[in-house]
Symmetry: C2
Subunit: 422 residues, 2 copies
């Protein structure tokens, strides 16, 4: 009988894996809680209204409609039972596997402070992005209709916690939202006077990047009007602001971009996890003690050539997915094991507002406009389908060439409901 | 001092009115519960995943950013006090007006059965459209993972109640969703076997259209696989289906497109309302007893040349808005009253799936492909902005030229939340 490969998670790792198994003699079940694959690197543009939810998503069923050995199933996996080689779904159903691939990604980590979540949403899903967009836009609506709007503007502070790529991209994008997009939209307040604070515990933003790029990113953020506060560790998040070692910052909205932790599902594997809850995998990306359970993407801890785990970025997930896909293909065809996994580091990049970015690839370091052009091109090339690519291109043309308008600002709920929520 | 014109509602009527007042010596406050104007005639395409929410919406603040005499305010008006010329908002604020324009549109009417609403959502807002999309897509997900999917498919029935333009367009679009869009998306069920029922109490669908077009629309629906049940009055909506005079129809999802009623705000006017709750207005579109309160668009009952009230369609709202805009402009400039309002009937149209439509304009009657082309062109021309027009054009190109794919199928919530809701 054909082997049954179960893949949990339809992110970059999961879909790249499955595509490699197109002609393999196995049947595949892909399980995801959502009906669509999300192009995560552009989530911050949804949160700041440059792109629509549809632009960065594609239905999983659509992606695999022509791959007959794949069955997509919407479900939430609550437990893995390695002993009996089965998984348990939220609705009580069980599925048996021959090979299991866990590609469940990561959520943001509040470092043992789960009560922060309600006050400071993170940015990992479309729902998160929508929540942040709503929070940002509603803040201006409230200020505009307040009786004492002058006073209120003093409290119009948006705080982004965490100076990694997500925090930097979000802060730059929020700065443009207030500086450019909302220009002339209000009559009582000046949106430009809102403040954007980026808090980072380390001495510099983008700590994973080389020195000159860290400096340049900092400088570019400042020129957009972002107040970059490094060496500033957050000690508490409150409904009205953020407490740090350096003092209290009142805030209208707080966004969390400070850390990740792997999906809690991994705990049910009863295998060694690192501090971020990621499963430590061997050279072939499966658990050291179980060759039938693979963990890839952001949920995986694989020691790279420099001894530290690979970063939680799309290229790592894509390469891990493709590797295990080929590995399983050979295995199902009865061929010998291939070489151990090794990561080909193409580099990394982060945008700072429109027209600026930093990028590093091997010894090549780019910054400013040229880095941004590279970013633009690469992200368009990797977008999941023809239609998305064109819609995103169009949105970007309108956005970048016409004074950074953001046309994806619609909020589905009426004001009286919104005000009850926030 | 400048006169204060308060406009409630940023639909077609409201925005067309305000644009006419661009150079008038008055200040204008536009109040809406939502932050965006919605292009309502295309809502059914959002509900059936052909277009994204952003494609048919534009922020009200963006529309009026260059019109300095307009202030936009997100708010829900709970009461009009004509005696003191003021309105009361949901948050307790009051606003005084010199001239008041009520353009609050209509909601669907359940004819005294408000408990139908939870079981059979209507289609008037983006939130409605999103809810319907979620309901439709989730139905297929459920069938696919059921143990006894053969049996379940027998219950895969979608019922649209009401054979007016909204019901016809929705039914045709749902038929294509199951026939074409979801093809090859599932492994256990055949989406094509789902059934779409259109229930109409009158002897024919599109009763407002001329005889040959009614017949043609019926025929086109049938050729798409829609089961058109005319002379079928609904007597009750239950969680598992619809009771009619002719019997019970089990249904997985029921959508209400059977009737409208004006916003309940009109009751606080203490003026004469018709049976649909619309305010009966005089020749200048204001209340007969109050020349400072205008009611336009779907909330207005204005007797057309044939004695019956004008239909609740976009062209009527646009012309009424433009008329009152010009009326108020002259009034604020101290000029004489213009001629009474008269509606220039350009006609009406409805699509039946892709490539087919019926349209009537004066003595001209169009049907089939040529009517659909006319529909396509007119809707693109009237779309609210450059970007929306291009994105919609692009979505339509992909949709119509590539086998009716629908790429806007993303649902923001995970399955375990969705299942609790439905």
């Amino acid at each position: 009988m054909e082997k049954h490969v179960v893949v949990i998670g339809g992110g970059f790792a999961g879909i790249n894996l499955i595509q490699k198994l197109k002609k393999a003699p196995c049947r595949i079940t892909l399980i995801d809680r959502m009906n669509s694959h999300i192009f995560q690197p552009l989530l911050y543009q949804v949160a700041t209204a440059s792109l629509s939810e549809s632009s960065i998503s594609k239905p999983l069923r659509e992606i695999f409609k022509d791959q007959n050995n794949v069955e997509v199933r919407m479900g939430f996996v609550v437990q893995v039972d390695r002993q009996h080689k089965k998984i348990l779904l939220h609705d009580g159903h069980e599925l048996f596997y021959d090979e299991l691939v866990i590609a469940t990604g990561a959520r943001h980590s509040y470092f043992g402070n789960p009560h922060y979540e309600a006050l400071a949403p993170g940015l990992k899903t479309l729902q998160d992005a929508y929540k942040i967009k709503q929070k940002l836009l509603l803040a201006f609506e409230r200020a505009e209709k307040a009786q004492n709007f002058e006073e209120l503007m003093e409290h119009m502070v948006f705080v982004v916690i965490g100076g990694g790529p997500t925090g930097v991209e979000l802060a730059g994008s929020i700065a443009e939202l207030k500086n450019d997009t909302l220009k002339k939209n209000f009559r009582h307040i000046d949106p430009k006077k809102a403040r954007v604070l980026l808090l980072e515990g380390f001495p510099e933003v983008l700590p994973a990047y080389p020195e000159p790029l860290r400096k340049r990113a900092h400088q570019d953020l400042v020129s957009l009007g972002v107040e970059v506060l490094t060496n500033t560790k957050v000690t508490n998040v409150l409904p009205n602001g953020v407490e740090t070692e350096k003092g209290f910052y009142p805030a209208e909205a707080v966004i969390w971009a400070a850390g990740n932790e792997a999906s809690p599902l991994l705990k049910s594997l009863h295998t060694e996890l690192d501090r971020q809850g990621r499963a430590i995998v061997g050279p072939y990306l499966h658990l050291p003690e179980d060759p039938h359970v693979f963990v890839i993407g952001d949920a995986s801890h694989f020691k790279g050539s420099e001894g530290s785990p690979l970063p939680g970025i799309a290229p790592v997930a894509i390469q891990m997915g493709a590797y295990v896909g080929n590995f399983l293909k050979k295995k199902t065809q009865g061929q010998k094991n291939p070489k151990p996994f090794s990561y080909f580091d193409k580099g990394m990049m982060a945008t700072i507002g429109s027209y600026k970015a930093v990028a590093v690839s091997g010894k090549l370091q780019l910054q400013g406009f040229i880095a941004w052009l590279a970013w633009l091109l690469i992200h368009l090339v990797y977008l999941v389908s023809f239609r998305n690519r064109l819609v995103v291109a169009l949105d970007w043309i309108v956005h970048y060439l016409t004074g950074r308008t953001r046309t994806n600002r619609v909020i589905l709920k009426p004001i009286e409901e919104l005000e009850k929520e926030n």
